[in-house]
Amino acid sequence: MNRLAQMRLWGLIRKESLQILRDPSSIAIAFIMPVVLLFLFGYGVSLDAKHIPVGIVIEQPDRETQSLAGAFERSEFFSPQYFSVIQTAQKALDEHQIDGIVWLRSNFSAQLLSNSASPIGVIVNGVDSNQANITQRYITGTWQAWLSHYAESRGQSLQMPVSVEQRVWFNTALSSRLFLVPGLIAIVMTLIGSLLTAMVVAREWERGTMEAMMVTPLRRSEILAGKLIPYFVLGMGGMLFSVALAVWQFKVPLHGSFWLLMLSSALFMLVALAIGLLISIVAKNQFVAGLLAIIVTFLPAFILSGFLFDIHSMPSWIQFITYLVPARYFVAILQTLFLAGDVWSVVLPNIGALLMMALFYFLLVWRKFHKRLE
């Protein structure tokens, strides 16, 4: 590159950087957004239920019902409320005061003492199916613990033929925060890379300053590089900031190598930027660009990336779509690098996929951008 070209590029980068610095909303999205998002998700979003309000219906209180209610009382997963008839408990369930009902009928103890299997009615509110599953699991767990405890108190031993011993790798406590926070970095970078870039460049089209730029001696590659470099720097800044928050504030361990993380982030950033540019070229208007960026990049990164919902369980035509979502590859890399370490067999194919996507989108930007110049 000769001196003149360098000067031109440098001048353009300077202009773009000044534009970022002047409009505080760009800085806001790069640095305030990550903080807001990480705090919201880190503290606000949790799939770990505790103190689930359950209603325990005891139609005829005695020692046996007392012993079962005590098991719920002692569990950290439940905060029980007591009812004497099922109707009032059902009303409380309708009004969302409780999430589940454990119903001990009046003949519960009699059947229990006569050794015939005494039925315990369990009703959960199934609207939030995931929560309902968790509630059922905890109720079952509490019931099993109580069974063996109760058997012992009667001098019998209730031995389960098979016991399950679980060992969890990578996230021993199964804390949902540890798996949500790494994935969140992908979301933050999607926002900075795609939404911000799409909006900024669409504004230039809308105002006609893009056309003004085209009559300058700047080459196509220089215009693109001049747009990309400042946002790349901004995006990587936001990313470093998010990693720092994840590690120090949320105590998510980073088992993998930092440089591998940086490399894959840089690649993902390039893909996000290219998509942002492409959207702005297609949309050329800030309203359309904004909506497209949210719908094409942010929401898929949220729902189709495996950040929150399991990709394996999606219908196969949607699993196919997820291969088109760059965040999918990045989330896989992030979750592995943070929680498991440098597992090359996971990281390499995903980096390869990101590389292909970056090349593909840049080629597309290159061609589309060219067309519009004429």
Partner: protein
């Protein structure tokens, strides 16, 4: 008559707003097309249910008992056994690569322990990177083992459990998570479109400089406010209706409650969404700021609404914040009416907070129209 003048003013402005929005072919498309595509893709994708969880089995036992337990796991639609291991060293690569979510290990003495009446242990090694998926998978496994245990005890003629759980889920009998998620998407997409339409309406004019002209016309700020609010409400209403029709027809989500109560909820929700949108618009100087502002509101609004994760799991401080989120109330209404078959009386406490949010934000927006001049 004064009233006639007011109505004419508002009507004229509303027409102009519609034209500004719908004149552009791409704008027309992004209001209708992407939300429907989103609903389809996310409706099928956003699910916590697990099917075909990939499992590997490492069975060192030669007895029949272990084979019987394995056949139960093979027969479950929740699991798909993809590998049978012969050696310890095969476990780690499978888990590391995410080829399997869990490995089941049955030791050499599994069958003989079982036959001698000592507890046989089933070891499970679990990939905890996605903690929720891991817990769900354990849930399925535990219920298979529990069934197996009870059958075994019954076959041995031993007194099994003297109390058994009979579990039922109300409102969502099969605990399908798309019954929970899809009604949520109605709220999410309606909010997205309404917010973008309104938040850009003032900012667009500010950027073009026509808002000052609007302020010096005989239109009163109140009339400008209403004229600008109408397109958002009308488009939101149509959008919501369209999505609800798709939800009922395609996803077969039941609509058990009162339709009038649903539309009262939609109306109040739109009022609050339009209020927030106009407030953002009145604060912003550029369209970029407006979109970013809408976004900075949108993301926390989704996260705090209980769309994907329960509000009850959030820390108390964050739970307080959720009361400011109109989507929180609307989701309870949509889910209450579709799944629980609620009507006005049970939902009254969801209606008035949205009315207050709408009133406050609209007044603030009107005040900002007059007091923010650039």
């Amino acid at each position: 008559m004064v009233l006639r003048h007011v109505l004419r003013h508002i009507f004229a402005l509303a027409i102009k707003e519609f034209l500004a929005l719908l004149r552009d072919k791409r704008s027309r498309f992004v209001i209708i097309g992407p939300p429907i595509i989103q609903l389809l893709v996310f409706g099928f994708a956003a699910s916590y249910d697990l099917n075909h969880v990939p499992v590997a089995i490492y069975n060192e036992d030669l007895g029949g008992a272990s084979r019987e337990l394995i056949s139960h796991i093979e027969g479950s639609p929740n699991f798909e056994v993809i590998a049978y291991l012969e050696h310890d060293s095969e476990v780690a690569p499978l888990i590391d690569n995410r080829d399997v979510l869990l490995v089941l290990h049955l030791g050499q003495h599994f069958s003989s322990d079982l036959l001698q009446g000592t507890t046989a242990s089933l070891q499970v090694i679990l990939d905890g990177r996605n903690s929720n998926t891991a817990m769900m998978a354990m849930n399925y496994l535990n219920s298979i083992v529990l069934d197996y245990n009870l059958n075994w005890l019954a076959a041995e003629g031993k007194s099994g459990a003297f109390a058994v759980l009979q579990t039922r889920a109300w409102y969502n009998d099969n605990l399908q998570s798309n019954w929970f998620i899809v009604p949520g998407i109605v709220g999410l997409l309606t909010l997205l479109v309404t917010l973008l339409v309104t938040s850009l309406s003032v900012a667009r004019e500010r950027e073009a400089g026509t808002f000052d002209q609007l302020l010096v016309t005989p239109l009163r700020p109140m009339e400008i406010l209403i004229g600008k609010a109408i397109p958002g409400i009308v488009i939101g209403l149509l959008e919501a209706t369209l999505i609800i029709v798709v939800m009922v027809v395609l996803f077969e989500i039941p609509l058990r409650g009162n339709l009038g109560a649903l539309y009262l909820g939609i109306g109040l929700f739109l009022l609050s969404a339009v209020g927030v949108g106009l407030m953002i618009s009145a604060i912003s100087v550029t369209q970029q700021q407006a979109v970013l502002g809408a976004f900075l509101f949108m993301v926390p609004a989704i996260v705090l609404s209980g769309f994907a994760t329960p509000i009850a799991n959030m820390p108390v401080f964050v739970q307080w914040l959720t009361y400011l989120d109109p989507l929180r109330y609307f989701l309870i209404i949509v889910r209450g009416i579709t799944l629980e078959g609620n009507s006005y009386s049970l939902l009254i406490h969801q209606y008035w907070p949205m009315a207050i949010i709408g009133f406050v934000t609209l007044s603030l927006a009107g005040w900002l129209f007059r007091h923010r001049m650039y």
